[in-house]
């Protein structure tokens, strides 16, 4: 019996799988797996209860004396909301008053089964009276309190960050943008999970073409579930095979709002604190809100520092490999003996030595990220001693390489976006290997390939390398430096805003 049951279930599962696969295109999505879930079926208590068969967390509350049935999910609704809007009014009336109560317009009359079921799943309470069904929104999900972002900290500036509840995130943005021009589009993603995506834009500032394009792309997603904003953007980006993130994500409310007023579109996925914005450029990932909260000179030097860090993290180890393997002429005389001396004890060629250390650093970083903070610290100390001291003393690596590897690791963490920083670290390995094969020529080829690749990328059909390609010198003042605010008069060219001027401040 058990075996046959398993086989049957397996077969059913396979059929389901095959069917979903076979069904072509968009219409397939609209076709739900449950045959009795059609829109034209009139809503009824029995039909609803059949639908939620075996859902033991469903609450069914009957009021036989007034001929009312109440159906809802207890953990989706707020106890206070429920008793205030549903239970208390229903317990204190007689049957002939029920109809009058329910025609108040806060109770929504529902005429099809599908929206009824969707309503219940979205935390509404369904009230069955005679043949009519009314829905009352009493949704109040459990939510984490608003805390400081762990991945994007700033020293000065707002510390609140998004949480997993979309409504809370929306309220955080609404609180900061008190304008009726802030428009919200509600979309749904995930065939099983039905996660809600809100697209936010400011009317008159955002380019509606981008809004339409983004809406279309999200509507085209066919997937069972999307769990995070960073995952969502991979379904809608222009080049899924590129290592670089094509839309920037943030957990910071101030960053999200700044993207909005710059004319970009912001997307909130329910259940994820990562809010994405589109379109994005490569250089956006190098900016931190700190740049704007400090004086412009400080902000500018921080920007410049980050670009230096980008360069260091990409090339420093590769340069070590190419110099010690091919270009001994490049070493300054004062450094020559030190490098030769520490290299002379190492049994591997420079390329393997460098890859070994880089992998070790990545191991440490990954271990540190997975472990709880307290153990993570221990890992850091152990790793620091092992890599810093013992590896050199044991003649495993040269100490100049330790400096190169450590400084490029540190430099990689200077890049504010974690996703971008991880991409850059991956690219670095390619450059190291190229340096080991062809020396400086290899590094030059690698960087050339990188630049070619980057210039081919687009984000929501706009160039990823804006404002360098296509060039727009006026934009540079908010990309490579952070010019004083009086000079930042226009919104970024990438957002193609119909309303370009953002600042009328006098010098």
């Amino acid at each position: 019996m058990g075996i046959s049951n398993d086989t049957r279930e397996g077969a059913a599962f396979m059929t389901l799988f095959r069917r979903t696969n076979r069904l072509p295109g968009k219409d397939a999505r609209r076709d739900d797996n449950r045959p009795n879930d059609d829109a034209d079926v009139p809503p009824s208590l029995q039909h609803t209860l059949d639908n939620f068969k075996d859902c033991m967390d469903l609450v069914h509350h009957a009021f036989p004396e007034i001929n009312v049935n109440l159906v809802y999910f207890g953990h989706l609704v707020g106890a206070e909301e429920l008793s205030r809007d549903v239970t208390i009014p229903l317990t204190n009336i007689r049957e002939n008053e029920v109809q009058a109560l329910l025609t108040r317009n806060q109770y929504k009359l529902t005429t099809n089964s599908k929206s009824l079921i969707k309503g219940i799943l979205n935390g509404e309470a369904a009230i069955f009276h005679n043949d009519n069904v009314y829905l009352m929104d009493v949704y109040k999900p459990e939510a984490r309190s608003i805390q400081q972002s762990e991945t994007e900290t700033v020293i000065t500036g707002p510390h609140d960050s998004f949480i997993e509840t979309a409504s809370a995130n929306l309220s955080l943005i609404r609180r900061r943008v008190k304008s009726s021009h802030l428009k919200v589009i509600k979309l749904e993603v995930g065939e099983v999970t039905k996660s809600i995506v809100y697209l936010l834009y400011i009317e008159g500032i955002a380019n509606m073409e981008y809004v339409r394009e983004l809406t279309d792309r999200i509507n085209l997603i066919e997937i069972d579930a999307v769990h995070d904003g960073n995952m969502l953007i991979q379904y809608i980006d222009d080049f899924p095979n590129s290592v670089f993130p094509l839309f920037s994500t943030t957990e910071r409310t101030d960053t999200a709002v700044s993207k909005l007023v710059a004319g970009r579109i912001v997307g909130i996925l329910d259940g994820s604190p990562s809010v994405f914005s589109a379109p994005s450029s490569f250089f956006e990932f190098m900016a931190s809100p700190d740049d704007y909260y400090q004086r412009w000179a400080t902000g500018t030097s921080l920007r410049v520092l980050r670009f230096i860090a980008l360069f260091i993290t990409l090339t420093f180890t590769a340069l070590y490999v190419s110099v010690t393997t091919f270009h001994y002429e490049m070493i300054p005389e004062a450094l020559l003996l030190t490098i030769t001396e520490s290299r002379s004890k190492v049994p591997f060629p420079p390329i393997y030595e460098a890859l070994l250390m880089e992998v070790t650093i990545e191991l440490l970083r990954e271990a540190g990220a997975r472990l709880p903070t307290k153990i993570g610290q221990t890992i850091g100390i152990v790793g620091g001693i092992v890599i810093g001291q013992a590896a050199v003393q044991a003649g495993f690596t040269s100490n100049i390489l330790i400096i190169a590897v450590a400084s490029s690791a540190i430099a990689s963490f200077v890049i504010p976006s974690y996703v971008m920083s991880a991409s850059i670290r991956l690219v670095r390995f390619g450059l190291i290997i190229m340096a080991g094969i062809l020396g400086d020529l290899g590094i030059a080829l690698g960087i050339a390939y990188l630049v070619v690749h980057l210039s081919g990328l687009t984000s929501l059909n706009s160039s990823y390398l804006t404002p360098v390609s296509p060039n727009n010198f006026k934009d540079w003042r908010d990309v490579f430096i952070r010019a004083p605010f009086w000079a930042l008069r226009r919104r970024p060219s990438q957002s193609r805003s119909p309303n370009l001027v953002r600042n009328r401040m006098k010098k």
């Binding site: 110099v323 010690t324 393997t325 091919f326 270009h327 001994y328 002429e329 070493i331 005389e333 020559l336 003996l337 490098i339 030769t340 001396e341 290299r343 002379s344 190492v346 060629p349 420079p350 390329i351 393997y352 290997i433 190229m434 080991g436 094969i437 062809l438």
Partner: protein
């Protein structure tokens, strides 16, 4: 699918073939720091049959046996060969390292070789793309091999010691900073002859021994170290330098002046003069008095201008003396030919036999020394 496979294979290939190709892994290289050229001892008198004595010094931090000076060890290799690259093969047989010249800093030429001409060796150096055009050329008054072979116990590694000393001294204009590039340029340029610093061994030290003057690529004469600064002022503008003047030549007894922070500016005027040329070289010098011993009073304006006059005369006398010797030896190290050439059409210049004309031209130095300050102290 094939695309992915191809990509994977490419990446795999990168991992496997790494280590092939024209690699120069640092610790396997013998980085020649200084090389010296001499005529091999006991060679034939006939120049064409003479052999070269080539020596190289290689810094070796890891060789434990040597008793190198300054605490850092070096490897010293010597070979006798017909040509300099032939010598390289010979040297290579003596070491486990791959000899490379990309870190070459200095080349030393023994005096006897320099007298025969050094162009063919310079030519080999210039042709090698791994050798920097900034490599120094130095003439050793004596045997270059012996100077390089010796360890100087109170100084860094011999090669580095010489290199750094020349570097420092060329800053204060005692010796010219002659590089491969400079030498080649002067060698091929019309109307100028190359020069090079000269050093010699002096017990536990190596000593600057003036400036070697070449005619084309043959060593002809040298400028004494005490005249070297004046020679530098005759040749070019200087921005730094110290000059020690003994005024006994100007009929003053026991009077000495030391000028420092010298800044000089020279201008050359060429006048055609009955089929010959007259060259006037004005040198304006200003500096501070570092030391004065004698009867005059530095704070007195009149006395100070006397000192200025005496120093001017001293410099002028030295300059005239030097140019006379240079003209006699037909070495145009000041590049006066270039100044004259620029006043002529090329055909005229070409027709003229410059080395002969050089001997006959009239060269006059006009020196004007000005004392900028004379110290903080007042009586």
């Amino acid at each position: 699918m094939y695309k992915v496979l191809r990509l994977f294979l490419t990446v795999l290939l990168f991992g496997i073939v790494t280590g092939c190709g024209d690699q120069r892994i640092l610790e396997k290289l013998g980085l020649i720091q200084t090389t010296s050229y001499d005529i091999a001892p006991g060679s034939d008198e006939d120049e064409s049959k003479q052999k070269l004595l080539i020596s190289v010094t290689i810094p070796r931090p890891d060789s434990g046996t040597g008793t190198g000076s300054g605490g850092v060890n070096r490897e010293f290799l010597t070979a006798i060969a017909q040509t300099s690259k032939g010598g390289r093969v010979n040297l290579s047989r003596q070491t486990e390292l791959q000899l490379v010249s990309g870190q070459l800093r200095n080349t030393l030429f023994g005096l006897s070789l320099a007298k025969q001409g050094i162009w063919e060796h310079i030519d080999t150096l210039v042709r090698d793309p791994s050798i920097s055009p900034k490599v120094k050329i130095t003439v050793v008054n004596g045997n270059a091999h012996d100077l390089l072979a010796k360890n100087y116990p109170f100084h860094p590694r011999t090669g580095q010691y010489i290199d750094r000393m020349l570097e420092k001294e060329s800053h204060s204009q005692v010796v010219p900073s002659t590089t491969l590039y400079q030498f080649t340029k002067d060698y091929f340029d019309d109307g100028i002859d190359p020069i090079a610093p000269m050093i010699k061994e002096a017990g536990d030290n190596v000593k600057i021994d003036g400036v070697a003057l070449f005619q084309k690529d043959r060593y002809i004469m040298k400028i004494e170290p005490k005249q070297a600064l004046i020679f530098a002022m005759m040749r070019t503008d200087i921005k730094q330098g110290d000059l020690n003047v003994d005024l006994s030549g100007q009929n003053r007894n026991n009077e000495h002046v030391t000028l420092s922070s010298l800044v000089s500016h020279r201008s050359v005027h060429v006048t055609p003069h009955n089929g010959n040329f007259r060259v006037d070289i004005n040198i304006k010098v200003s500096g501070s008095v570092l030391e004065y011993i004698g009867v005059l009073d530095l704070e007195n304006d009149k006395d100070r201008s006397t000192i200025e006059k005496l120093v001017s005369e001293y410099v002028q006398a030295n300059a005239n003396e030097m140019i006379a010797v240079m003209q006699k030896n037909r070495v145009d190290s000041l590049g006066l030919g270039k100044n004259i050439r620029s006043t002529l059409h090329y055909a005229q210049w070409h027709k003229m036999n410059w080395p002969d004309t050089y001997q006959r031209i009239e060269v006059k130095f006009h020196v004007n020394v000005r004392i900028k300050d004379y110290g903080m102290f007042t009586k």
